[in-house]
């Protein structure tokens, strides 16, 4: 059987409800080559009405949909496994942040009476704002990257309305390519995220924000990342990174402050056989520490050492949440892609079988007619 090379224009719709809506338009160039054996049905070339295509084409199409389904299913499972790893990373980082919060709390209690002046907590009149935008590295994750970029654009518009200057620190390949294509947005630095955010990457971002703030180039640093709410829902949020509040509170741009002792973390579990994510809120116990805790150095020096650590852990936390939401978005996008592939394959199979049966019926009719004619 000679395989003719056919160029086929296929229109595939995202959701196919009725099999009769499925149609292919085929443009055959070497139609003359199909001389002696043409096992496939003869498609007519018509630009007005879309025509059903041949059996072989349907078969190849069904094969490719099956392969695509395998790939999307695999991607979903890989994303699910990575969410577990991301969750473990968050859990591993908890002892650090818990202890840090405890220490910060105690030191603040002891320094209530003293007048401390730490540069990182200095509140200045805001003239320029730095936005740290956390996006993902790869696509195929639904609306994840678009949501965070839209939020960034909205914030930029807000700042412009307020007459404030701004600069962007972009983290992640998707954000980088977006801002590279728009040279009218001032970008301070492009940073790449790794597969799993480590303290080193958080350090690089924190160092950049630190130097911009300390050198008084910017007066406020805001962190834009996606908060992981559930497997199907994630929220882009904006948190004020600098200036830090000495108590270690995490503040929203609207001024809603969350006490640093309240910690939320997510858990990937199964409920009724399906993967879900639950968020738990835990409050770290801040017990009264012995008041005779002596400071080896000046309290200002101690806070100088503590607050960058806190900054680092905040940035790392944001990166981890961002990664977890990206993975969850990829999971749900790939899951719906797999469902679509299954449905598409079913519809294609129905059409294929119908074609096949029609051809067989045609051949039988020919034979019967021929036999009748002979009598």
């Amino acid at each position: 059987m000679s395989c003719s090379n056919l160029t086929m224009l296929v229109s595939s719709k995202p959701s196919i409800s009725d099999a009769s809506n499925l149609s292919f338009r085929s443009v055959l160039n070497p139609f003359q080559l199909l001389s002696q054996n043409s096992p496939s049905c003869s498609p007519s070339r018509s630009s007005v009405t879309p025509v059903q295509c041949g059996l072989r084409e349907l078969r190849t199409r069904i094969e490719s949909v099956k392969n695509t389904q395998k790939i999307t299913e695999a991607m979903k499972l890989v994303a699910a496994a990575k969410v577990r790893r991301a969750q473990e990373a968050v859990v591993n980082g908890r002892p650090f942040s818990e202890t840090l919060v405890e220490v910060l709390y105690n030191i603040n209690e002891q320094l209530q009476t003293e007048d401390i002046d730490v540069p990182l907590t200095k509140v200045r009149p805001v003239k320029k704002v730095a936005l740290v935008v956390c996006t993902g590295d790869r696509g195929l994750c639904g609306g994840f990257n678009n949501n965070i970029i839209k939020k960034a654009e909205k914030r930029i518009a807000e700042l412009k309305d307020l007459g404030l200057d701004y600069t962007i620190i972009s983290v992640g390949k998707k954000g980088n390519s977006y801002f590279l294509r728009r040279p009218y947005i001032p970008v301070d630095r492009f940073l790449e995220g790794g597969t799993l955010p480590t303290a080193k990457e958080a350090q690089a971002i924190a160092d950049d924000a630190f130097s911009l703030f300390i050198s008084e180039e910017v007066d406020k640093v805001e962190l834009l990342y996606t908060k992981f709410v559930s497997l199907v829902k994630s929220d882009p949020v904006i948190h004020t990174l600098l200036p830090l509040s000495p108590k270690g509170e995490i503040c929203d741009i609207n001024g809603n402050c969350v006490d640093a002792a309240d910690d939320e973390f997510f858990r990937l579990t199964t409920k009724e056989g399906k993967l879900t994510v639950e968020r738990d809120s835990v409050r770290t116990k801040t017990e009264d520490y012995s008041p005779i805790l002596e400071f080896e150095q000046d309290p200002v020096q101690i806070l100088d050492a503590l607050l960058p650590l806190y900054l680092n852990s905040q940035v790392l936390r944001a990166l981890q949440e961002s990664l977890a939401s990206e993975l969850a978005a990829r999971m749900s996008a790939m899951s719906s892609a797999t469902d679509n592939a299954v449905e598409l394959k079913k519809n294609l199979s129905i059409i294929y079988n119908r074609e096949r049966q029609a051809k067989i019926t045609g051949e039988i009719l020919e034979i019967v007619a021929g036999a009748n004619a002979l009598q």
Partner: protein
């Protein structure tokens, strides 16, 4: 009487066990901590932490942070820490050469 030492980084817990003595390098010099040390809080400089377990010393590189010494309980919070056994001398030498070249 032993000290309980906890070295924490944002990624993981590097060390969490009992030790006999530690030598920590802080902003104001090196301090040695024995059991029943007075409670202090100190900033930690980038330097080497020496840990003694039963007459044998283990060293660890710390990238700066904070240390709190309480009732025989030491908590060190650092940005990064590496045990000397995990460091490859060849790689470290190369990194040193690159860093020196960048400085000049």
């Amino acid at each position: 009487m032993t000290l309980n030492l906890c070295v924490l980084t944002p990624n993981r817990i590097v060390w969490d066990s009992e030790v006999k003595e530690i030598i920590l390098s802080t902003n104001s010099g090196q301090i040695g901590v024995l059991p029943n040390h007075a409670p202090i809080a100190t900033a930690v400089d980038i330097g080497i932490l020496r840990i003694r377990l039963n007459d044998q010393w283990v060293t660890m590189a710390l990238m700066g942070g904070f240390a709190r010494i309480g009732n025989n309980k030491i908590t060190i919070l650092v940005n990064d820490a590496e045990k000397s056994s995990d460091i490859d001398p060849e790689e470290a030498k190369q990194t040193l050469e690159i860093a020196e070249a960048n400085l000049s």
